[in-house]
């Protein structure tokens, strides 16, 4: 950084990032390296902060619902659902039970596709590309069903304040049934491939450890917290939509795989088991789908007029695939809400990277960073700046190559 005059000395500073294609906020990492080992980590998000909350505070709630769809490309329903639930509480809008069930079904399909997407990314980070293709191939089934139900693969636009915008017809049911049967048949195979593979175990077991206490103190949520043994699942703890009628238990790493250790491996187990749980929930929702309306008010001008008059504040909260997603909304009798605060799931999970990455090797960085599921592949571009030297840029491919080489080394050592 000083034009090559200063001597290179330990620890080396390794910045990674900031561009990561799928995270809401791309993250710039700076590692202090001692040889191959990470000594300390610092990160700076916010490279594509789009000011969505600022935009929302100048729009009416119906416009914001469609804005929330665009907060994240993968969490297509959780943000709109959280926001709609907050506004519904302020306006005391009773959502028809059928709409609650359809919201739940969509919520779970999203979890299936998100977890499978993650499983594929994790496999790719490890250099297990055939598994990556398999996971993403399998994911297509849920994407097709989502498209069938909502009309869109992403940005579903199914949630409206007071209900959902599309019903599930009787013609669609056999399709959904077929999709569920497909996943049920595949799950054992997926579990076998992921959990009985010695290479995956070598790369993931005891790497990226997050202790129970750290998970609590750093406010980790979702599968990241559950893998560390923190029993926390909004669907179980805090009833919303159809979950108040169902029996959803938080998935913790079972004792047969060595109990909750809080490593990358446990995060894989939790997510795989949650896919099975989601299938069960969709099945229960389909069986008990109540008849009736799907919207509290079909006419948008009437809905907007109601929302314009209401005053108050509320929290809308759901369990996103990555953990709790929360929106705080305050309305003061104007078109636009006075305050809208979005707390996405990754917002709470980012701090967990610090203890996870400490003491790990550079080649393990991709899988550990990906293990909290920051949406997609972890590192897009890496620049290595040795102290005093000019920056050497490491591309994502090179970092992935490092990770793949480590896998190969381990296989040879076996």
């Amino acid at each position: 950084m000083n034009g090559g005059t200063e001597k290179k000395s330990i620890p080396y500073t390794v910045p990674i990032g900031p561009v990561h294609p799928a995270l809401k906020e791309p993250v710039m990492f700076t590692f202090q390296m001692e040889g191959e080992v990470v000594r300390s980590v610092d990160f700076a998000p916010g490279n594509t902060h789009r000011g969505i909350e600022w935009m929302g505070m100048r729009r009416n709630p119906v416009q914001i619902v469609h804005l929330t769809d665009r907060i994240c490309g993968i969490c297509g329903i959780v943000h709109s659902l959280s926001f709609a639930r907050a506004v519904e509480q302020i306006a005391e809008i009773e959502v028809p039970p059928r709409a609650d069930y359809i919201r739940t079904i969509m919520h779970e399909f999203e979890r299936i596709q998100s977890h499978l997407l993650w499983a594929g990314v994790a496999a790719h980070e490890l250099g297990f590309d055939s598994l990556f293709y398999l996971a993403w191939r399998v994911r297509e089934q849920s994407m097709d069903l989502i498209e069938n139900i909502t009309g869109n693969r992403v940005n579903y636009a199914i949630v409206q304040i007071g209900g959902v915008r599309r019903d599930i017809s009787d013609d669609q049911r056999p399709l959904i049934e077929r999709g569920l049967a497909y996943y049920r048949g595949l799950l054992d195979q997926m579990k076998n491939v992921f959990l009985n593979d010695s290479t995956i175990r070598m790369r993931c077991r005891d790497h990226g450890l997050l202790s129970y206490r750290d998970a609590q103190l750093l406010c980790a949520i979702g599968p990241t917290a559950r893998a560390s043994g923190v029993s926390m699942d909004v669907r179980h703890d805090y009833p919303y939509c159809a979950y108040g009628d169902l029996d959803v238990r938080p998935v913790l790493p079972p004792a047969e795989f060595g109990g909750p250790k809080g490593d990358v491996y446990d995060r894989i187990i939790v997510r795989l088991l949650e896919i099975a749980q989601s299938i069960d929930i969709i099945r229960q929702c389909l069986d008990n789908l109540p008849a009736g309306e799907i919207l509290w008010e079909k006419k948008l001008p009437k809905l907007l007029l109601t929302l314009k008059k209401v005053q108050g504040e509320a929290i809308g909260r759901v369990e996103a695939p990555r953990g709790e997603c929360m929106h705080y909304v305050r309305m003061d009798g104007n078109d636009a809400p006075a305050t809208w605060k979005v707390k996405a799931s990754s917002y709470s999970n980012l701090m967990s990277w610090i203890p996870m990455l400490k003491g790990e090797q550079l080649a393990d960085v991709p899988i550990i960073v990906a293990s909290i599921d920051p949406c997609m592949s972890c590192t897009d571009r890496v620049s290595v700046i040795r102290n005093g030297g000019s920056p050497d840029y490491l591309t994502k491919e090179e970092l992935t190559r490092l990770s793949h080489e480590k896998t190969r080394r381990l296989i040879q050592c076996r």
């Binding site: 906020e25 700076a44 998000p45 916010g46 490279n47 902060h49 000011g51 909350e53 600022w54 505070m57 639930r85 509480q89 959502v95 039970p97 609650d100 069930y101 609590q216 103190l217 750093l218 406010c219 980790a220 949520i221 923190v230 029993s231 926390m232 909004v234 179980h236 703890d237 805090y238 009833p239 919303y240 939509c241 159809a242 979950y243 108040g244 009628d245 938080p250 008990n288 109540p290 504040e313 509320a314 929290i315 909260r317 709790e324 929360m326 705080y328 305050r330 006075a338 305050t339 605060k341 707390k343 917002y347 709470s348 980012l350 701090m351």
Partner: protein, 212 residues
Amino acid sequence: MNETPHLSPREIIDLYKTEFGAGILDARITERGEGTKKTKSHDIWLRVERALLRPAIKKLIEIRFPHFAVIAGNDLGEEIELLYIFSVFYGTKFGEYMVTIGVKLPKTDLTVPTITDLIPGALLSEREKQEFFGITVTDIPDGRRLFLPDDFPQGVYPWRKDDTGIKPEMVRELWTIGRPKDRPVPPVPEKKPVPEEPVVKGEEKTSGGAAE
């Protein structure tokens, strides 16, 4: 951690009232039931005196270590209200409550003590409040900007509704800028802008667009 047994929302509020008395300015519970069984979820809203922020959070930790979600903020004109949003009793079947602890800060003195010594995970949220509301968090272990870029002007706080908020000249409407000129031609020709557009008011009914 000394853990108290599971309490009802009312009992939590009673605990706070006996401990802090008149320091609790407002306390209420909201409920919400959804689905067919309408199982209730509970939110607890506490407004406390400014000096009681940390004691109130310590009290919550004493009851059960909470999950810290986020700090939300309201610009109320003369004051900024910070809302520390927690949830307690996670892991209990339908027994988790959101607990929101709110404090008001006058705009003449926007300082608040850090809570990162109690809950380290609150750091990101505190950094965010510093840059978006212009609040000073005293003793914050890391006071850098979080989301805003380094070249963002100093003294502009996006979530404020007074003159320190985003200035109109900072806002660029996409429709006034148009398509970048150095890109390939789009496959479908762009529509010509309708000249009558600025005349349309909210009250006037114009045909088109609302065909469904």
